[in-house]
């Protein structure tokens, strides 16, 4: 699995757009990029997934440059409730049926939104 690197923590203010960048220099051709969000005292939950260019849903946007060595999760107009840990994962959609790999969660980015 490709190793990912993301900032340990970030601060922002309500109403701002927040961009969290994840570096994955060794991403493989068949790897997808997935982001999860974890609120305190809860399990992680899926936010968004993409392979290239841009993906947008009701929660966030994911920007992936042509070389795919990094990706940026964009949260528009954040609120206090967006304070959470955000995990970037990179993995192969072909890998199934066994093995101890699959989803690997790193330490994530602790995003703190202030009033």
């Amino acid at each position: 699995l490709a190793k990912t690197t993301q900032p340990i923590s970030m601060d922002s203010y309500e109403g701002q757009e927040v961009n969290i960048t994840c570096s994955h220099n060794n991403i493989a051709t068949n790897d997808y990029i997935t982001w999860y969000q974890q609120f305190p005292s809860q399990g992680p939950r899926f936010i968004i997934q993409g392979y290239k260019t841009k993906v947008t849903n009701e929660v966030a946007s994911l920007f992936i440059p042509a070389d795919r060595k990094s990706s940026t999760l964009s949260l528009p107009r954040v609120s206090l409730s967006d304070t959470a840990v955000y995990y970037c994962l990179v993995g192969d959609n072909r890998r199934s049926g066994g093995g101890a790999d699959g989803l690997t969660f790193g330490k994530g980015t602790h995003l703190i939104i202030q009033p």
Partner: protein, 114 residues
């Protein structure tokens, strides 16, 4: 939210005692997972199951065993709890085991081993 429950939600036990955590799902998903989450380590996979009676080890399986006798239930057992197993345990489920398949997580169980 996916129908995943974990029990108990909180438990305090003593070193050397056996502990069993239960994960129950109502989604009929094939794959089930147990993770532990510790400060500074993120989430680490303990064991997973790919069907009834089919399980395999994850990254940190030492000291843990699992069983899955029904599709909906996945049990995690600490045979003899140690203080290093104090953690928050999360169960997750997915339809498939590819890295692109969404995993749905339960609410977690906070275990303290004294």
């Amino acid at each position: 939210d996916a129908g995943i429950t974990q029990s108990p939600r909180h438990k305090v036990t003593e070193t050397g005692t056996p502990v069993t955590l239960r994960c129950h799902q109502t989604e009929n998903h094939r794959y089930m997972y147990w993770y532990r989450q510790d400060p500074g380590h993120g989430l680490r996979l303990i064991h997973y199951s790919y069907g009834v009676k089919d399980t395999d080890k994850g990254e940190v399986s030492d000291g843990y065993s699992v069983s899955r006798s029904k599709t909906e239930d996945f049990l995690l057992t600490l045979e003899s709890a140690t203080s290093s197993q104090t953690s928050v345990y999360f169960c997750a489920i997915s339809l498939d085991r590819t890295s692109t398949d969404t995993q749905y997580f339960g609410p977690g169980t906070r275990l303290t081993v004294l």
